[in-house]
C-alpha cells in the first residue's frame, strides 16, 4: 500500500522532520531563518544562496527528509520519483520583489525574474538530485489532501514509484511548508486524507 514514509514541517520558528524538532529559529541571529537551517545542518550547496524563499524552503525540506531517512531515495531510478507541489499564493513574494526592482530600484532584476514562477522550486529539487521525473505545481485556495491523493494515484499508475509532495506557502506574513514522501510499503501511516491533514499540522511532542 501507499505509505507516508517521511515528512517535514517547516514553520515560522521551528522545523520538524518526522515530528522531531531539527531546528529552532534564533531571533538574535543575523542570518535569515532558512539560512540558519542551512548552516545548522551543514548543507553544502552554494546554489542555495541564489534561490528565492520558495525554492530555499523546498530545497531545505527535501534535504532534511533525505538526511533523516538515509537510503530513502537510493532505491529509485532517476525518473521514478515524481514531484507534486502546490500552494495558495503562487510565487507572490518573489513577484513583489521583482516588481520592486523595476518600479523602485530602477531596473528589472533578471535574478529575481527567473524565480517568478512557482514551479521553479521543482526545477531546483530536480537539479539538486538529478531527477528526471514528472513535475507538477498547482495553485489551490488551501492545503487539500484530495489533490495529492488524486494526482498521486495517476502518477503511480503511469510509472512513478515514489512521490515527493509538498505544500509550500512562504510569504511576508507566514511560513507554512509541509513536504512528504509517499512510497509502497507493507506498513506505516497510509497515504490518506486523514493522515495528511494530521501530519500537516504536526507539532513536536512537548507542545501537544
Amino acid at each position: 500500500m501507499k505509505v507516508i514514509t517521511a515528512y517535514c514541517n517547516l514553520r515560522a520558528d521551528r522545523c520538524l522532520v518526522n515530528g522531531e524538532v531539527v531546528a529552532e529559529r534564533d531571533p538574535a541571529s543575523e542570518d535569515s531563518w532558512f539560512k540558519q537551517i542551512y548552516k545548522k545542518h551543514a548543507l553544502a550547496y552554494p546554489k542555495f544562496y541564489k534561490m528565492d524563499v520558495l525554492s530555499q524552503a523546498g530545497y531545505l525540506a527535501s534535504e532534511l527528509i533525505k538526511k533523516a531517512n538515509p537510503g530513502l531515495v537510493d532505491a529509485y531510478a532517476d525518473d521514478e520519483i515524481a514531484l507534486i507541489f502546490a500552494n495558495a499564493t503562487s510565487s507572490a513574494e518573489t513577484d513583489r520583489r521583482f516588481k520592486q526592482s523595476y518600479e523602485e530600484a530602477g531596473t528589472p532584476s533578471p535574478s529575481l525574474f527567473v524565480y517568478t514562477l512557482p514551479n521553479i522550486v521543482l526545477g531546483e529539487i530536480a537539479i539538486a538530485n538529478k531527477w528526471y521525473g514528472e513535475n507538477m505545481f498547482a495553485v489551490l485556495p488551501k492545503f487539500a489532501p484530495g489533490f495529492y491523493l488524486d494526482y498521486g494515484q495517476i502518477l503511480s499508475s503511469s510509472g512513478s514509484r515514489a512521490l515527493l509532495c509538498g505544500w509550500l506557502e512562504v510569504t511576508a506574513t507566514g511560513t507554512d511548508v509541509f513536504l512528504f514522501m509517499v512510497e509502497e510499503r507493507e506498513t506505516g501511516p497510509a497515504f490518506s486524507h486523514d493522515n495528511l491533514l494530521q501530519l500537516s499540522q504536526a507539532r513536536e511532542a512537548a507542545a501537544i
Binding site: 516588481k99 523595476y102 528589472p108 521543482l122 537539479i127 488524486d150
Partner: protein, 360 residues
C-alpha cells in the same frame, strides 16, 4: 478512448477557432510593433489582443472562452459533479492582485458557470498547457472525472515583458523560431479551451483522440535549456511507449520553438535523437507570440484544426536553417492528411511535456 474537441481560441487573430484558422491559412500573424511598450520606452513587438483592455483581463478572457466552449458541447455536463475545470496559466490575474493571482478568478468561474467543483490551477511555466491536457486525460482515464474542461490563459503584462527584457530574451523583430537569425521571443497573450471527455457524444462536432503523454525534468538549469535535450527526449520517448507509437507514425510535430537561440537548438538536438528530424515541423509562436501558460492549449487547439482541415501550416518567421541538427521546417502551407501528431513544450524550471492527437 479519451476524446478532445470543442476547441476555442481567443487570440489577436480572432475570437474563435475558425477565425484563427482563417488567419493561419493566410499566414497572417498576430504580432505587431507596439510603440514605447518596453521598460526603457522602446518599441516592442507583441501579440496583444486589441479589444482586451482594463482590469480583469484574465477573467474576461476565460469567461469568453468558456462561454464559447459551452455552446459547442452538451451544456448539461457543465454543472455536473463529474466535470472539472482545469486552468493552465503562469501569471493569472497578476495585474489585478499580485497576492491572489488565481483564487478569486476560480471562485468567480465556479459561481458564474454553476460548476460543482472549484477549478484547479496548474502553473508549470511554459509546459503548463501541455501538462494540463495530460492531467485532464489522466483524470478521465482514472475515472476521477468523466469530463475535464481545459482552459489555458495568460495576458501580456509589463511584469513579464520587463522580465524577459532583463534576460535579453526579447526579439527585436517578430520572433523567428528555428531561423538562423532568431534572437528571442515575442510575448503574446491569449486563451484557448477544449473539452477532454470519456464520452464522445457530448461534443457538437466530431472530437479527436487525445493520447496523454509524460513530462520530464531536464535536471539541468532553471532558466537555460539542456544542451542534450535529455528531458524532452525522455518525455517524448515515454509518450510514445505509453501508447505503443513509433516515430514513423508521426505525421507532424508541433514544436515549442520560442525563437531563442538555446531553446530552438535544444529542440533540434532532441528531435534528432528521437528520429523526428525529417518530420514536417513548425512552431506557432510566429503567429501568436509566446503565450506562456496558454501556449500549449492554444497550439494543441491549432493542431486539432490542422487535423480537421487536413493542412500543414507554415512555420512563420523561418527562412534559413539555424540549428545544429537540420529539421524539416514547414516552409509553406500544404494540404496533407494528418492522422497522428506530436505536440511538445519545454520551459523554465527545466520542464518538458508532450502529447499526441489522433484523428478518429
Amino acid at each position: 478512448m479519451i476524446y478532445v474537441g470543442a476547441e476555442v481560441i481567443v487570440s489577436p487573430l480572432g475570437n474563435n477557432a475558425e477565425d484563427n484558422w482563417q488567419a493561419l491559412s493566410a499566414n497572417r500573424s498576430g504580432i505587431a510593433l507596439v510603440p514605447a511598450a518596453g521598460f526603457s520606452g522602446e518599441d516592442i513587438h507583441l501579440a496583444r489582443i486589441g479589444s482586451l483592455a482594463g482590469p480583469l483581463r484574465f477573467q474576461q478572457l476565460i469567461v469568453n472562452a468558456l462561454t464559447a466552449l459551452i455552446s459547442r458541447i452538451d451544456a448539461a455536463i457543465v454543472p455536473s459533479n463529474r466535470t472539472l475545470v482545469l486552468i493552465s496559466s503562469t501569471k493569472g490575474a497578476l495585474d489585478d492582485d499580485m497576492n491572489d493571482q488565481f483564487n478569486a478568478t476560480c471562485a468567480l468561474l465556479q459561481q458564474h458557470f454553476g460548476l460543482a467543483h472549484l477549478p484547479l490551477v496548474i502553473s508549470n511555466a511554459c509546459i503548463s498547457g501541455v501538462l494540463t491536457l495530460n492531467v485532464a486525460a489522466n483524470m478521465v482515464k482514472a475515472g476521477q472525472y468523466e469530463h475535464v474542461i481545459v482552459v489555458g490563459c495568460d495576458v501580456a503584462s509589463d511584469f513579464v515583458l520587463y522580465g524577459f527584457q532583463s534576460l535579453f530574451a526579447v526579439s527585436d523583430k517578430p520572433c523567428a523560431p528555428f531561423d538562423a537569425a532568431r534572437n528571442g521571443i515575442t510575448l503574446g497573450e491569449g486563451c484557448a479551451a477544449v473539452l477532454v471527455s470519456g464520452t464522445g457524444s457530448v461534443f457538437e462536432n466530431a472530437p479527436l483522440e487525445l493520447l496523454a503523454g509524460a513530462s520530464a525534468n531536464d535536471a539541468n538549469h532553471i532558466s537555460g535549456p539542456s544542451r542534450t535535450g535529455e528531458g524532452l527526449v525522455r518525455s517524448v520517448k515515454r509518450t510514445f511507449e505509453t501508447h505503443g507509437v513509433s516515430a514513423d507514425e508521426i505525421d507532424f510535430v508541433c514544436a515549442h520553438g520560442t525563437g531563442t537561440l538555446f531553446n530552438d537548438e535544444m529542440e533540434s538536438i532532441a528531435f534528432d535523437r528521437l528520429s523526428l528530424a525529417d518530420k514536417p515541423l513548425n512552431s506557432l509562436k510566429g503567429y501568436f507570440g509566446h503565450t506562456l501558460g496558454a501556449a500549449g492549449v492554444i497550439e494543441t487547439a491549432v493542431c486539432m484544426q490542422m487535423v480537421r482541415n487536413g493542412m500543414l501550416v507554415r512555420s512563420l518567421g523561418y527562412t534559413d536553417a539555424g540549428t545544429s541538427r537540420p529539421l524539416n521546417i514547414i516552409l509553406k502551407n500544404e494540404p496533407k492528411i494528418l492522422n497522428t501528431i506530436l505536440k511538445t513544450a519545454s520551459g523554465f524550471g527545466g520542464g518538458n511535456a508532450s502529447l499526441m492527437i489522433r484523428n478518429i
